[in-house]
Chain length 232, copies 2
């Protein structure tokens, strides 16, 4: 099975959570929009799919077209052995992923608190207010939560990595990029989360991916943006 990932070709964004899962599993995949005429293919697929997505990313897996990051990971978790099999642990992994998705949406809204359709520059005063709250109360609340979920285990589910660990790695990477001051404070309180980040980064397939051209850089066009005026 060669998967086809459809996502914006120039940013990590929400597609990155899927890329990390595919990379860790060593799955064959095509990052469609990064190929020739890729954007055309993405837009055509958005318009015509039987099971259309509200927005990218979506994944084609044989006859299936699957949208929504957490849903794609639910599917890949089962098929690529990136999630536990038992019902309780499977649901718990998905619950963590959905909470990560909430955090990602909030991180996005720090720079787009009014509208995703207009520029950051046109909503800076609102962004400053929202980011101040995000830094002061939301990052600590989410990081406390994930630290509690992790406990003193190697991975969120214990000895074995799941897609939620990959996503937590990505969120920490993104928050470090966007809010370095706030994250330095947070990580001082939560050494086990930093250890999880390192553990994921050092997995051979992830390390190779991060060093490759397939890993796009963070930038001010993605979800995690570094605007120094928003980081306190």
């Amino acid at each position: 099975m060669v998967y086809q990932l459809y996502y914006w070709p120039t940013i990590q964004g929400r597609g990155e959570f899927v890329r990390l899962a595919l990379e860790e599993a060593g799955a064959g995949y095509v990052d469609v929009a990064r190929g020739e005429d890729g954007m055309k293919a993405l837009m055509a697929e958005l318009d015509t799919a039987d099971h259309p997505s509200f927005a990218p990313p979506f994944l084609k897996a044989g006859a299936l077209t699957i949208g929504q990051v957490a849903n794609i990971l639910l599917y890949l978790g089962e098929h690529l052995h990136l999630a536990p099999r038992g019902e309780a642990a499977r649901l718990w992994t998905h619950q963590l992923q959905l909470t990560i998705a909430d955090l990602v949406a909030e991180a996005h809204d720090t720079h787009h608190p009014v509208s995703g359709d207009s520029y950051y520059e046109d909503q800076k005063p609102e962004a400053k207010k929202r980011a101040a709250e995000f830094v002061k109360t939301r990052i600590p609340k989410f990081m406390d939560y994930f630290a509690r979920a992790l406990g003193d285990k190697d991975y969120l589910n214990g000895a074995h990595l799941s897609y939620a660990d990959l996503s937590l790695f990505q969120v920490i990477a993104g928050l470090r990029y966007a809010f370095p001051k706030a994250m330095a404070r947070s990580e001082k309180q939560h050494a086990p989360l930093t250890a999880l980040y390192d553990r994921v980064a050092q997995r051979p397939k992830i390390a190779a991916y991060l060093a490759s051209e397939r890993r796009l850089p963070f930038s001010e066009e993605g979800i995690f943006r570094h605007y120094p005026e928003l980081d306190h």
Copy 2:
């Protein structure tokens, strides 16, 4: 199996998506926080659960504790026959639910664009801007999407109702309450969505639930709030 639902006792909020599923299935359940000492039980469970939730609602189902609305519905969909069995349709139902969750979060942020921890009254200028965008571009985009997903079918998956239909009903109900002007315009364009709403509302168990005291009213403490100044 008697399920225990943990959610804030005075609002529909996100808990309502779970209540509707339990009601439609005729499942036995206790709405824990609405009972005696219920808030104490909710807070204790939040603090001590093995698989803690970032926020209510969460559901106890025998030995399982499950958080995140879409995850709870994934579980109930399977166990209460509120979702199709086949992989493609099961994933599609979940994808729709996750998109509904995104819409719910955006509806919430119209009145809390800066911070969920402070009052609407303290973020009114920002709320006006965000709500204007929500009404102008987001409601139409989401409703177009769900109308496309529904097509001319009775329910999102065809002839059989799933939890996503119940949730779409609830979102339409909430948006009608919060943004009556904007929704009147939107529904004029999308008669099939109104027909779906009516179809769900008339199902015997849902009709009985909506007429009962178990159905809390919409209010300005929930997710869908009617502030006339935000509805255009």
